[in-house]
């Protein structure tokens, strides 16, 4: 029994954004903008970050050049036969806060997950000229439809925490932290008068 029969329908009036981001594109984005992402991004979560930063500390090369790229915090479910990927929604971003400044210093242009970032990460974003986006937590089935290709890049033994390269099309997100240092969660809270 299904109570619902919805056709997939996303936000209207999304700002179309091509990945990897250019400096010009990023400068045009403001906190609160609803965007639709198309192009290439890389994925990583807790263990991926731990390993990337361990490589950096040892002076070893990273398995992928993250300069100018968007890193999406996700640990997908395995694809069933015939599927590109399983459910692939965002994980909570604050757990990556300890590692993010190092990756931003390297030239990572943007990160995407859900939930607010630490003050240190926000300062690092301002310093390095990076932005942060949130996508829809708990919408893993729907978001999987926007992933057209998935390729394992590194850390296969970490299972769902491996580093993947995704090709996405029309992937919905909200700009939370823009280049001007604004934070959309704070703007919403301020509007409530709290």
């Amino acid at each position: 029994m299904s109570l619902l029969r919805y056709e997939p329908r996303f936000f209207a009036d999304l700002v179309k954004v091509i990945l990897p981001l250019t400096a010009e594109t990023m400068a045009g984005l403001e906190a609160g903008d609803l965007v639709s992402l198309s192009g290439v991004l890389y994925t990583g979560r807790d263990q991926t970050h731990r390993r990337l930063c361990a490589l950096l500390e040892q002076g070893e090369p990273l398995p992928v050049d993250l300069r100018g790229q968007l890193l999406y915090y996700v640990g997908p479910t395995p694809a069933r036969p015939g599927q590109v990927i399983g459910a692939a929604g965002p994980t909570t971003s604050y757990r990556m806060d300890a590692y993010t400044p190092q990756l931003l210093a390297l030239g990572l242009a943007a990160t995407m997950g859900k939930g607010a970032r630490s003050w240190a990460v926000r300062q690092a974003m301002r310093q390095e000229g990076a932005i942060y986006l949130a996508t829809i937590g708990g919408a893993g089935a729907l978001l999987s439809k926007c992933i057209k290709k998935s390729e394992l890049v590194a850390f296969a033994d970490a299972g769902p925490e491996a580093l993947f390269r995704f090709e996405v099309e029309g992937f919905p997100a909200v700009v939370i932290n823009d280049l001007a240092g604004r934070d959309y969660y704070e703007m919403v809270a301020a509007k409530q008068g709290s």
Partner: protein, 278 residues
């Protein structure tokens, strides 16, 4: 004494794990629909619409609702007139292993120190309770940790009373912001001891979303806390509006005269739960 085949337990747990990940129950779908209908923020209304679309895709195409298919928490209520003809815990763990593997679910369980993934999503967390009757009731609650991580417990002084409880629970939920994927269901355990309160908070999530507590004063407290949380206006995913929480469920248990334990277990909007009676 009725005999229950452990192989039947394994099959049941396997099927519950797969079904829970992909098919939301009518209680949470109804709660999300009602939230959409009363939502005042256009953006949050849009996101609620999107979440309903997501559950529909998940159910039709057997893709998990959320990629965090959770650590499996299983409540086993075993009737005193029933006996499992083997090891109940082993039967349950094997069901979890099979379900997560055969259902293409995510292996999300690791050693807490080395962080090495067990790659089977076991061990599950099992709570066994002896009850009246001759059946085995299995409740599966695959728990995502975006919400689990925002949970908390306070050993309040009894003088804090109801106002202290309202403040602690509402501040915890509001401080969690968009991390636990609101609109959330808030499980609250009041009383007992340190660990009893935590267990009650989790057990409160087994109740159908929005069903009030039996005790009138407890139900009133649920309504009061829900109102305070939603008045803060954080809304769906922190995007603003009047639906930060869908429901507050409180379970109570007598406590020590010196103590007022309050535990809060937060559940995301993808509130996955399934049960079966064997």
């Amino acid at each position: 004494m009725r005999l229950i085949d452990p192989a039947a337990v394994t099959r049941a747990v396997r099927d519950l794990a797969i079904a829970a990940a992909c098919d939301l129950e009518p209680d949470i779908l109804d709660a999300l629909l009602a939230a959409r209908d009363r939502e005042i923020s256009p953006l949050s209304r849009n996101i609620l619409e999107l979440l309903l679309t997501n559950s529909d895709i998940a159910s039709r195409e057997k893709i998990p609702v959320c990629q965090d298919t959770g650590i499996a928490v299983i409540f086993a209520f075993l009737g005193r007139e029933a006996r499992v003809g083997g090891d109940l815990a082993i039967a349950i763990q094997e069901g979890v292993r099979q379900g997560y593997s055969e259902g293409f679910l995510r292996m999300s369980v690791c050693d807490p120190l080395t962080r090495v993934n067990t790659m089977t999503n076991t061990p599950a967390v099992i709570h066994l309770e002896l009850v009246e009757g001759d059946t085995l009731r299995l409740c599966m609650l695959p728990k995502g940790c975006g919400s689990e991580n925002m949970s908390g417990l306070a050993m309040l002084p009894p003088s804090a009373g109801k106002p202290g409880i309202v403040r602690y629970v509402s501040e915890l939920v509001v401080k969690a912001g968009s991390n636990p994927c609101p609109p959330v269901t808030v499980g609250v355990g009041i009383g007992g001891s340190f660990e009893k309160a935590a267990l009650l908070a989790k057990q409160a999530l087994l109740r159908p979303v929005g069903q009030p507590a039996d005790r009138r004063d407890v139900a009133d407290l649920e309504t009061e806390i829900l109102t305070v949380i939603n008045e803060q206006g954080q809304g769906v995913h922190g995007m603003g509006g009047n639906n930060t929480a869908l429901a507050v469920h409180i379970e109570v248990y007598p406590s020590h005269i010196a103590s007022l334990p309050v535990a809060v277990n937060i559940q995301c909007h993808a509130h996955r739960h399934k049960e079966i009676i064997l």
